[in-house]
C-alpha cells in the first residue's frame, strides 16, 4: 500500500536540527527530529536539567470578536467562561457522538481574543471542524504557518528562560502565560508542557524562532541544556500518562473513558458532544484508560491486546520502557472491573500473554509548579 508522495513540511528550525545532527523522521506530515544524542539520554536531561523541543509543527488558531467566547463554549468541552486573561486551559473538541476531534490548550489573550493550540497531525481536520461551526461576530484565523513554538522543560527551565526574557518568569503560575521578549524576540511565555517537569512553551513568530532556539541552547550549555527529539517527548509524556491523540484518544474514544472527564463541564450549557458524553456518564463508561506496568519482562506497544483469564478484554494504546521509572510501562483500555490499581492483567506480546498489573498514575511524580 503506497501513500501518495506529498513533500514533508518543515518547521522554522529544520536547518538547525540538521546542523545538530538530529535523526529526522516523518511525523504527521512533518520532517521532525526524533533524537539527537539518544532517546534515553535526552529523557534524563529533561528530568535532571533542561531540554529544548521544537514543537513548531503544532497548530494555532486565533479567535477574536464579541462572540468568541460563545463560539468557544460551543466548540470545546471545558468552561471557557472561567478562563482569565493570561490563563491557559486544557480542553477538547468533540464530535456530536462524543468522540474526540482533538485535545488542545486554550489561551485567553485579551477580553475577546483567544488562541487555541492543536496537534500537528490534526491542523487541517480541526480547522475544517472549527470553520464549519463559525457563527456570529468572530474573526477566526489559522496562524499555524507563521507561528513557531519551542518547549523548554526541566528543573532548570525557569532559570534559563528567566535569563533570556524581559518577563518576570518566576511570577508566571502553572497554566498561565505572559507576553514579552525572549532573546529579543516578542512572543508568549507560557508555563505549560507535556513532560511532567516545570517548564515553558514559547510561542514566537516563525522568523524569530531560530534565533531564540540558538540562544537557549548556547545560554543553557553550562547547565547541560540539550535539544530533545520526539522520541523522548513520547517517553516523558508516557510516564505522566498524558494522552497522545492518535494513540490513546481519537474519534472512537469518549472523554470519560479516556479519564478526561475533568475537562468536560456539562453545567456550562450546550456544547458539541455534550448529550452523547452525558449518556455515557449516566450509563457508566464501558472501558477505562489505565496505566499498567509489566510484571513479566516485555515491551507493550500500541495495538497489542490486553488479556484477562486468557481472553482479549482491551488494547494497549501506548507502551515503552520508562527511563525514569526503569520499568516497562504502558497505558490502555480495560473493562471498568479491571481498572483499579493492582488488577492483574496480561499483555499479548508476539502471541503470548505476559503478566502485567494496573498501577496508579502518573508513573513518575510530576514536578510542575503549583
Amino acid at each position: 500500500m503506497s501513500q501518495p508522495e506529498t513533500p514533508l513540511k518543515r518547521t522554522p528550525l529544520h536547518a538547525a536540527h540538521v546542523r545538530l545532527g538530529a535523526r529526522m523522521i516523518p511525523f504527521g506530515g512533518w520532517d521532525m527530529p526524533v533524537q539527537y544524542a539518544g532517546i534515553v539520554e535526552e529523557h534524563r536531561t529533561v528530568r535532571s536539567s533542561v531540554g529544548c523541543f521544537d514543537v513548531s509543527h503544532m497548530g494555532e488558531f486565533e479567535f477574536r470578536g464579541p462572540d468568541a467566547l460563545r463560539l468557544l463554549q460551543r466548540l470545546t468541552t471545558n468552561d471557557v467562561s472561567t478562563l482569565e486573561i493570561g490563563q491557559v486551559q486544557y480542553s477538547l473538541l468533540c464530535y456530536e457522538n462524543g468522540g474526540i476531534v482533538d485535545d488542545l490548550t486554550l489561551y485567553r489573550l485579551a477580553d475577546d481574543h483567544y488562541m487555541m493550540t492543536v496537534n500537528a497531525s490534526n491542523i487541517d481536520k480541526d480547522w475544517a471542524w472549527v470553520s464549519r461551526h463559525l457563527d456570529g461576530r468572530v474573526d477566526a484565523r489559522n496562524v499555524s504557518e507563521e507561528t513557531g513554538l519551542i518547549a523548554v522543560q526541566g528543573p532548570h527551565a525557569e532559570r534559563l528562560v528567566g535569563r533570556l526574557s524581559d518577563v518576570d518568569v518566576p511570577a508566571i503560575g502553572y497554566y498561565h502565560f505572559r507576553r514579552g521578549r525572549v532573546a529579543g524576540v516578542s512572543g508568549i511565555v507560557s508555563r505549560t508542557g507535556y513532560t511532567g517537569e516545570d517548564g515553558f512553551e514559547l510561542y514566537l513568530p516563525g522568523a524569530g524562532t531560530e534565533e531564540v532556539w540558538e540562544r537557549l541552547l548556547a545560554e543553557g550549555k553550562p547547565d547541560g541544556t540539550a535539544p530533545i527529539g520526539l522520541g523522548a517527548r513520547d517517553t516523558l509524556r508516557l510516564e505522566m500518562k498524558y494522552a497522545l491523540y492518535g494513540n490513546d484518544i481519537d474519534e472512537t474514544t469518549n472523554p470519560l473513558e479516556a479519564g478526561l472527564g475533568w475537562v468536560v463541564k456539562p453545567a456550562k450549557g450546550p456544547f458539541l458532544g455534550r448529550d452523547a458524553i452525558e449518556r455515557v456518564r449516566a450509563a457508566g463508561p464501558s472501558r477505562r484508560l489505565v496505566g499498567f506496568e509489566m510484571v513479566e519482562r516485555a515491551v507493550a506497544r500500541h495495538g497489542y491486546p490486553i488479556l484477562h483469564d486468557g481472553a482479549s478484554v482491551g488494547v494497549v494504546t501506548s507502551g515503552s520502557y520508562g527511563p525514569s521509572v526503569d520499568r516497562y510501562i504502558g497505558i490502555g483500555y480495560v473493562p471498568p472491573s479491571l481498572a483499579a490499581a493492582g488488577s492483574a492483567i496480561a499483555v499479548e506480546v508476539r502471541g503470548r500473554g505476559h503478566a502485567a498489573r494496573v498501577v496508579k498514575t502518573p508513573f513518575h511524580p510530576p514536578r510542575v509548579k503549583r
Binding site: 539518544g38 534515553v40 516485555a298 515491551v299 520502557y321
Partner: protein, 131 residues
C-alpha cells in the same frame, strides 16, 4: 575498535558471528545498534535451543522499534548473555564486546561461507544496507 572488525563474519540482517573453532559468538553490528537507537529489551533463546541459519532466534527492542534477530549460523545455543536482561544498553555501548547475544555450537560450520567479510559488509551497507 574498528566499526566492522575484520575477524568477524556478517549477515545481511546486520548480525555478526565470531567463529572460534566449532563455536560462534553472535551479536548485532554497529550499524544495527545505531539504527535501532537505545536498546531497552532483548529476548534470547535458552541454552539448548536450536537455531537455524537466517531464521529468527530472538528479538531486540529499542524505545521506538522491534527488530527480529537472525541466526548467522545453525547450531545449538550453549551460552546466553544474561547480563543483557539488566543492561540491554550494552548492545549499544559495546556491540562486539559485552553486548554479545549468544554462543552457538555449530552443526554446519561450512555455512560460514555464506556470510560476508568486513569489507563485503561495508560495501553492502553502502549499496543495499541503508534501505
Amino acid at each position: 575498535m574498528a566499526t566492522y572488525p575484520a575477524e568477524l563474519r556478517y549477515t545481511r540482517e546486520h548480525e555478526w558471528a565470531k567463529i572460534e573453532g566449532k563455536r560462534a559468538r553472535v551479536g548485532i553490528t554497529h550499524y544495527a545498534q545505531d539504527q535501532l537507537g537505545d536498546v531497552v529489551f532483548v529476548e534470547l533463546p535458552k541454552v539448548g535451543a536450536k537455531v537455524t541459519q537466517m531464521q529468527t532466534f530472538g528479538v531486540v527492542e529499542s524505545v521506538k522499534a522491534v527488530s527480529d534477530l537472525f541466526a548467522p549460523l545453525s547450531g545449538v545455543v550453549v551460552e546466553v548473555n544474561q547480563e543483557l536482561t539488566k543492561q540491554p544498553e550494552r548492545v549499544n555501548r559495546d556491540p562486539y564486546g559485552t553486548g554479545w547475544l549468544v554462543v552457538v555450537e555449530l552443526t554446519n560450520p561450512a555455512e560460514a561461507e555464506k556470510l560476508m567479510s568486513a569489507p563485503q559488509y561495508e560495501e553492502f551497507l553502502k549499496t543495499a544496507g541503508g534501505h
